[in-house]
């Protein structure tokens, strides 16, 4: 068996997610030829403006995974303070403990090899419910979330509806 450490670990995680998927989350490699490229579907958490939406995202893993974290990008439109307009997700669990120029993130929240795809996706789901406006990736969304909450929620709901083709 000449799989690399990263490939074995990703297989292991894939197995785990297939056997016991967390609520509202599905994830797996796009094709079995390339374990380093996954796609995930995340349900919008209930009781939030994202409710009812299903958000596709892609995960790209580095060769030295799990020493380094993967990159996560939403594939569809998503209006959220912690998601760049190009879809790239910006949360502490995806940041290696080394670089933290703003010192706003607790080391304990950062990436560590013991984290997993499952934990990332669960964190992202809770991020949808509770944005962190200390480190906005989308400043406009963060401002709107802070100052004009109803407008923000309406915009998110409109986005969900557009995505569902309603």
């Amino acid at each position: 068996m000449s799989l690399s450490t990263a490939q074995r670990r990703l297989l292991q995680e894939y197995r785990n997610l297939t056997n016991d998927p967390p609520d509202g989350i599905t994830a797996g490699p796009v094709s079995e030829d390339d374990m380093f490229h996954w796609e995930a579907l995340i349900e919008g958490p209930e009781g939030t403006p994202f409710e009812g939406g299903i958000f596709p995202a892609e995960l790209k893993f580095p060769k030295d995974y799990p020493l380094a974290p993967p990159k996560m990008t939403f594939l569809g439109e998503i209006f959220h303070p912690n998601v760049y307009t190009n879809g790239v997700v910006c949360i502490s669990i995806l940041h290696p403990p080394g670089d933290d120029p703003n010192h706003y993130e607790e080391a304990s929240e950062r990436w560590s090899p013991i984290q997993s795809v499952e934990k990332i996706l669960i964190s992202v789901m809770s991020m949808l419910a509770e944005p962190n406006d200390e480190s906005p990736a989308n400043v406009e969304a963060a401002k709107m979330w802070r100052e004009r909450r109803p407008e923000y929620e309406q915009k998110v709901r409109d986005g969900v509806r557009r995505m569902l083709g309603l």
Binding site: S4, T5, Q7, E13, D20, D33, D34, K63
Partner: protein, 466 residues
Amino acid sequence: MNDSTPTNAIDAFENVTDSTDWLSTPLSGLSAVEAALRCQICKDFYRTPMLTSCNHTFCSICIRRALSSDGKCPLCRASDQEMKLRSNWSMEEVVAAFTQARPAVLEFAQKPPTVVTSREQSPKRKLDQYEDINGEHSSSQPSSKRLRSSTRASKSRSIEATAEIARQEADVQQAESPGFEPDDNLVECPICLRRMKVIQVDKHLDTSCPGKPEPESSPSRQPSKASATIPIVFPSSSSSSSSSSFRRQQQPPSKPLERLPALNYSSLKEVQLRKKLTELGISTTGGRQMLERRHREWVTIWNANCDSLRPRRKADLLHDLDVWERTHGTRAPTTSRSATLGAQIKDKDFDGAAWAARHGSSFKDLIASARRNRAQAQEKRNNEQANQKSAVGDKAEENKEDNGGIPEETEIADSDDGEVIDLTDLTDENENRNDVDIAMASSPHKSTVGTIPDTMDLSPGTTVIS
């Protein structure tokens, strides 16, 4: 990885076991047991588990990799050093015992109906009886004394039972596995493994020892066999003495493996580093950065092997390094190759002239195609402007100033060579849109001046800039 992965990954997925395998069975509680026997880094069963200073356990190779990249415990982020790692042999025993029992237990758990019918009578009745006893006691709560004494009784009974089982197992070991020291007061020669009396060993070593393991001696007595499989029967808890003799047996008889020290790469010249790698018998290809990374990986693999109760041969370790080489090293595909390419170019010894000569033709092609694209883009823009002017005519007169700024701005974007291709793409796309807009503008309905700025916003220059 490209060549080997596809089939392997699919096959491997079928063979991957996980603690969640138990969840769909009646023994779902074993999921937590199994999860506790798995390393949090690789998520696989512990292989050569090691304790950190903060008392967390990881596979030797996992924690060594993590520490050499970060210097912190992945679980609690306390600082730690590889030197301070200690073996967690009890954990290794538990894992070996569990993984050995796992397939049978899982099968048992996954097919409960057949099992129940075949063994319906005896165990089930026993279970019922047991429950009855328990029920009786719990119903008669006040007599807690009696409960305690009876549990003690049942405990001692179960101890007797385990002891009996252990005795039987120990017998089996002695009979079936020659890997355990027979109780004959003889010892093995550390080199040829022949058995003899203790006092004979010195003389034997000086005179008659052939210098290598005797071919006729039972192969299972040689430590190398251990690398292949998990030992047949693991000693049960009561026979700890035999388990320690088993451990001793697994140590290589003659040369104990020595751990490699970490190198301070910054104080080494590249030539010295290359020499080190040659001495270790590993590849010296690639730039300086690659040499360091390869050396670091080799030290990790090697030292993790030293921790192992059943060290593997160097050839196996070299194979591991080879796998690493294909995914992270010089033979890695795509991204990492471009990284090494970058390192190559930054290298002090980089021969710029030779590189230019070797890649001269492709450079020329790139320049030519960039020039062509640029010329085409320019031409298109000129045509468009001419069209716009003629189509929009006097109506656009007041917007001409905005329009006039566009070519200059695009020129700026254009001068950045990397942008050339993107720019043409954009121009193509926008050209179509412009056609529509221009058609609208010149339609018999005579659009108002107000619509014209809209068409202007879509012109290529402004789009690119924004």
